[in-house]
């Protein structure tokens, strides 16, 4: 015994349904539909509703358009203030790539660059801090303050205005 699924897979039924939403079926498509409905008589009522709904929607008349509509639009276009050139150039649509994939890629690149910049800044700040800490550390190696208690006396020794000839002779020997 042949099953419904053997005769027509649901994907084909789905395809025909989607086609019927938009337009009348071609003879070939109608033949496929006949085959489908022969195997699945219970679906016929549903198909009738689908077809009736499509016809109902298509029977809606187009809205009447005033005969001077185009003239009114052209008037409005000429009245509307033109966008300044600088604003046009700033328009993101002009420099943003088209499509969500390239935009996502651009966004991701911008985020990565921002993160790298922040990271680089932090590294520089840390290096500067490390240098400052190192120079503070070097203060610890200075001589004790006691060593400077005779600083002024020693300094004044060099200010002797008259040369000590005797001392010089002793040193030269």
């Amino acid at each position: 015994m042949s099953t419904v699924n053997d005769d027509m897979p649901d994907s084909v039924s789905q395809e025909l349904t989607e086609l019927a939403w938009r337009r009348g079926l071609t003879p070939d498509e109608q033949a496929r539909l006949r085959q489908y409905l022969a195997a699945r008589p219970q679906a016929r009522r549903q198909w009738e509703y689908e077809a009736a709904l499509t016809r109902g929607l298509n029977s809606l008349p187009p809205a009447p358009v005033s005969s001077n509509f185009t003239a009114l639009v052209l008037q409005a276009v000429q009245r509307a203030p033109a966008r300044p050139v600088w604003r046009r150039r700033l328009d993101p649509a002009l420099w943003l790539p088209r499509g969500w994939m390239p935009r996502l890629a651009l966004g991701a690149t911008m985020v990565c660059l921002s993160l790298l910049t922040v990271r680089e800044y932090q590294t520089i700040q840390r290096q500067r801090m490390a240098r400052d800490l190192a120079s503070v550390g070097s203060l610890a190696t200075l001589q004790p303050v006691d060593w400077l208690q005779n600083f002024h006396t020693i300094e004044n020794l060099s200010r002797v205005e008259v040369a000590d000839d005797a001392l010089l002779q002793i040193v030269q020997r």
């Binding site: 009348g24 409905l37 077809a51 929607l57 409005a76 009245r79």
Partner: protein, 211 residues
């Protein structure tokens, strides 16, 4: 430069370069579908025309950024979708305000001239208007996106892929949206669908049962 395959896109490229005649041709071609879409979405003819006018002004103002990456119809219907959904949101926030306030100011009031298209005989017209009213009523009760999807589905020149682009959804989400909308419509219009009120062209779309 390769010639764009879409003639409307070619006209839009001319309009982009300031050719007002090319723009006029586009208005002539698209005024009917855009006004009809707005009318079916808002059910107000006067506002439908005002919104359609806003759509065309936006098309003209955005011409400088137009690139032939898709069909022109997809682009204009996307603008129409934005304008329409913004208006529905604006209405829900400020129900008393008219769309007239958002139109560019004019020195003289715009007067519209309509032609009378009614050609139905009285009983036929009565039935036709009743059915139309019922469908419109059922459409009005749909969520905006579903209503828009069903109405765009009536546009012959838009494929499902293009409808998906207009709605900003994936193809499967778009089909699912249309399916849900149609299920709701079938439920609401079931008494009329059962009576065979729209049966006159049955043979064209549904094959008769072979015995």
């Amino acid at each position: 430069m390769a010639k764009p395959p879409d003639p409307d896109a070619a006209l839009m490229l001319l309009a982009k370069d300031g050719d007002l005649r090319a723009f006029e041709q586009l208005v002539e071609k698209y005024k009917q579908p855009i006004v009809s879409l707005m009318f079916r979405m808002l059910h107000d003819l006067s506002e439908a025309e005002d919104l359609a006018q806003i759509v065309f002004v936006r098309v003209h103002q955005s011409a400088f950024r137009y690139e032939v990456s898709a069909k022109f119809s997809t682009w204009i219907f996307t603008i129409a979708r934005h304008v329409c959904l913004n208006e529905i949101r604006r209405r829900s926030r400020h129900p008393a305000e008219s769309i007239e306030s958002s139109l560019p100011e004019s020195d003289e009031p715009a007067t519209r001239q309509f032609e009378d298209h009614k050609t139905f005989t009285p009983p036929e017209a009565f039935l036709h208007h009743e059915l139309e009213a019922k469908i419109q009523e059922a459409l009005d009760e749909l969520p905006e996106k579903q209503r828009l999807a069903v109405l765009l589905c009536r546009q012959d020149d838009l494929s499902y892929e293009e409808i998906a682009r207009v709605l900003g959804l994936s193809l499967s989400a778009t089909k699912s949206l249309i399916h849900r909308a149609r299920e709701t419509l079938k439920l609401r219009l079931k008494p009329y669908l059962q009576t065979g009120a729209w049966e006159e062209k049955r043979a064209e779309t549904l094959p008769t049962k072979r015995c």
